[in-house]
Symmetry: C2
């Protein structure tokens, strides 16, 4: 007999930095330490529903559109209270402002991922490991899915989208080539016809995230090249033993 919990790694790009939503623990163990929002799964509750509920209850933030199971953490000694298995979820949100709603949400706030990853001891339980796995998953998915759009509000400019990639990978992208790439990627973006105003320079067009994929022709995948990892061999660390 085990306790089963869920933990939510809710990531965003905020103030030009990659950030994660954390709560301060109000009781033992790890009282006063930062932790991922999460808690026990109820007996008739689906795992993903539990994750959404805990996020809402502990931080006052309604779960965003993108919520995906990350992995399950079950080392026998991971919780001093007893054998606990935790199913971690990855949530991707646009910048939602301060986290100030919710009942237990007093201590919920955003924190920079880079600082948390530099020092494992800042987080309770094995949450530093979970965070590191979540970051790796999110960075990876930017490469081959339209995940970046989920870091943006419903309507956004190409430059905002570009800044997501630039922040997550800490590099500069050529605005011209980036613009062409994303606007030409089939099904990736939808024009709204509107344009942003207020900033300096020529106003940018506003776009919306493209179709969910279901309503697209799903172009024949190009498996011809076999996708051997040429540039960076073995980059996506598989768990070999």
């Amino acid at each position: 007999m085990f306790s089963v919990t869920v933990d939510v790694v809710c990531l965003t790009v905020r103030d030009g930095a990659f950030q994660v939503l954390l709560v301060e623990r109000g009781g033992p163990p790890f009282e006063g330490r930062l932790a991922l929002p999460g808690g026990f799964v109820q007996v008739d509750e689906n795992l993903e529903d539990a994750a959404r509920r805990e996020l809402r209850e502990e931080t006052g933030i309604e779960a965003p559109r993108f919520v995906e199971q990350l992995a399950t953490y079950g080392e026998p000694d991971r919780d001093p209270r007893g054998r606990t298995v935790s199913v971690a979820f990855l949530a991707i949100a646009a910048d939602l402002g301060e986290a100030t709603g919710g009942s237990d949400a007093a201590a919920a706030d955003w924190h920079r991922v880079d600082e948390l990853l530099r020092d494992d001891s800042l987080l309770a339980f094995d949450h530093a490991v979970i965070l590191a796995d979540a970051v790796e998953r999110a960075r990876g998915k930017l490469e081959y899915t339209p995940l970046a759009c989920d870091f943006c509000p419903a309507e956004f400019t190409i430059a905002e989208l570009r800044r997501v990639y630039e922040t997550m990978w800490d590099l500069r992208l050529d605005p011209a080539n980036f613009h062409r790439k994303v606007t030409r990627a089939d099904g990736f973006l939808v024009e709204t016809g509107k344009s942003a105003d207020g900033g300096v320079g020529r106003p940018a067009q506003l776009y919306r995230r493209g179709g969910s994929g279901a309503d697209l022709p799903a172009a024949e995948p190009r498996y011809d090249g076999v996708g051997v990892p040429l540039g960076s061999p073995c980059r996506h660390g598989a768990s070999y033993s």
Copy 2:
């Protein structure tokens, strides 16, 4: 309080077909039906160790080098006996021959994945869903990791490796281009100097799987292009709700 189990999706390429290792259930529920090997996690046992143990006990097959957590399945009604959460693992093996060892292994055998996916009702519990997820993960990982080598024995020819891709994706690859691609991919393969014999035609060189990645220069990832999914938008189904 939940029961926690592990299930193992052990995949291989065998007789020119993509196959999975299954057992026949010896008791209720789903008595007599095919199921993934698996069982209850012990109280002081790590999840992955449990998976390896169950694979060995139920099929007589020692877990291969590649074992990776797949996902966790926890719908409230997935097991008629009570609330059970199952952590599924993906294992990739070379063709290991018949499954005939182990105590409970009498009923363990390899089955064609394509047939199982055509009819959900062939497998016990939600194992058809787990299998489908495993297949998607394995196909996906072929694209950007050296996973294909794990479907081959320790030493293999380029043609054997090519047949893995051809079987998994059901297509024909140009042997010439494939050869160049994998032999030039840095760190992907290591020459053994030996060559295969026995077959018709010019004997092929034998290769071994390349470094684990840790001992490689880990070439600068080429994030320049941002990896928008051009050819096939939104192919890797993210769990949007």
